[in-house]
Amino acid sequence: MYLPDFDYYAPATLKEACFNLARLDGDAKVLAGGTDLLPHMKNEVIAPKALVSLKEIQGMQEITYVPGRGVVIGAKATHNALVRSQVLRDRYPSISETAHSMANYQIRNRGTIGGNIVSAVPSADLPPILMALDASVVMAGPHGTRTIPLEQFFVGPRCSVIACDEILTDIVIPDQAATGSAYFKFGLRRSGALAVVGVAASIVVNETRVAQAHVVLGAVAPTPVRAFKAEQLLIGNSVTEALLEEVGRAAADECKPISDIRGSEEYRRDMVRVFTKRALRKALHLPGEQKRGVK
């Protein structure tokens, strides 16, 4: 299986890379890990005239905590880097756990968080948990950078608001009082399978009542989506098993799954109900579901 011909650029700076992309005017793709891009090209789904590689660009892979800004993850950080990052393990273990649940070891060594976001695949695993944690994305273009909430990034399957001359550089997770967060996914195998359903939750409980809740559903709509009605049911209430069931049902009502080779619409909808409960239980550190979660 061979790749079609293309021109190749490996600029040393981000600015140069953006100018390269601007000059190529939509005919180029950005190459980071390549674990999504190259199979896509081999399968002849896309045939870019040029690839602009980020390999010579220094930095862009650190995972650091910046006081006042939050956790900043360079877009070139690999999935295994997310798994190993002490910063994430201390602050947002749910992100490390999500990365650990993705693909297989070889792919996790190459695939990047930036690629996972920019590819905008509806079943991608990192966007739901990042959205649940209110993450923003920073994009560099030929004329400067801009930052937008990740929630506003996705437009449809494999479609986002990033311009053809922009490069995703950082993902920022702002400080928050989160009690906990979790991502639960169902794949057809333990390893390497795409999510049939993925549910991320982050929740803040003051005393006994829910002060803040995010529920984000993956693989059940053209983009990852917030389950606003489900979230509203939680706010101001004490979490009980009955409430969780109601929240699960609300989330199932809100999603718009398709039927495909991995699961039917009805099945996905019911899995959203179940996984919403599980993700919330795990985010709340309630017993019962940990064993079945992503490791």
Binding site: D5, L31, K42, N43, L51, Y105, Q106, S191
Partner: protein, 169 residues
């Protein structure tokens, strides 16, 4: 990585250096040449196998700077200046590596097609985690498909190699 002169357009070739199994190779590749094809076709190291060629099966696993990766999903040009270990570089001075010997002793070689990738994934695992549990072994080789579906002996072999390494053999 520099462009070789007198080459234009998409036939342009780039001079790259790869350090494979400790030997340095200066070669010319096209932008779309995959690492697996350089290893097999240009360096004649055919131990690295081509399976699905989409990053699912792990037959083409090599170690890039010590970490297992799918060489079917890496442009050779992106590996410029990096160190690569293929299955040919695992045995030292005609002496099989502990992992290789353990595969033979535990009848884990089977048809042999997945074996090079399995051995490299196992070696990388034992380097970063000398005492893996069975679950950790299974997870480490989850990206290496065996279509004989005989993972039991492979897992046994990796666990046995860990014990042998412990004894200093």
């Amino acid at each position: 990585m520099e462009c070789i002169e007198n080459n234009t357009g998409r036939d342009k070739r780039y001079a790259i250096q790869l350090i494979v199994n400790g030997d340095s190779y200066n070669i010319a590749v096209k932008a779309n040449t995959l690492l697996v094809n350089v290893l097999r076709d240009q360096l004649n190291l055919t131990g690295t196998k081509k399976g699905c060629e989409l990053g699912n099966c792990g037959s083409c696993t090599v170690l890039l700077d010590g970490e297992p990766v799918d060489s079917c999903l890496i442009l050779a040009i992106e590996a410029d200046g990096h160190e690569i270990i293929t299955v040919e570089g695992v045995a030292k001075n005609s002496q099989l590596d502990t992992v290789q010997q353990a595969f033979i002793d535990n009848a884990a070689v089977q048809c042999g097609f997945c074996t090079p990738g399995m051995i490299l994934s196992a070696k990388a695992l034992l380097t970063r985690n000398p005492h893996p549990t069975e679950t950790e072994v299974r997870e480490a080789i989850a990206g290496n498909f065996c279509r004989c579906t005989g993972y039991v002996n492979i897992v046994k072999a990796v666990l046995a190699a860990a014990v042998t390494k412990d004894r200093g053999a």
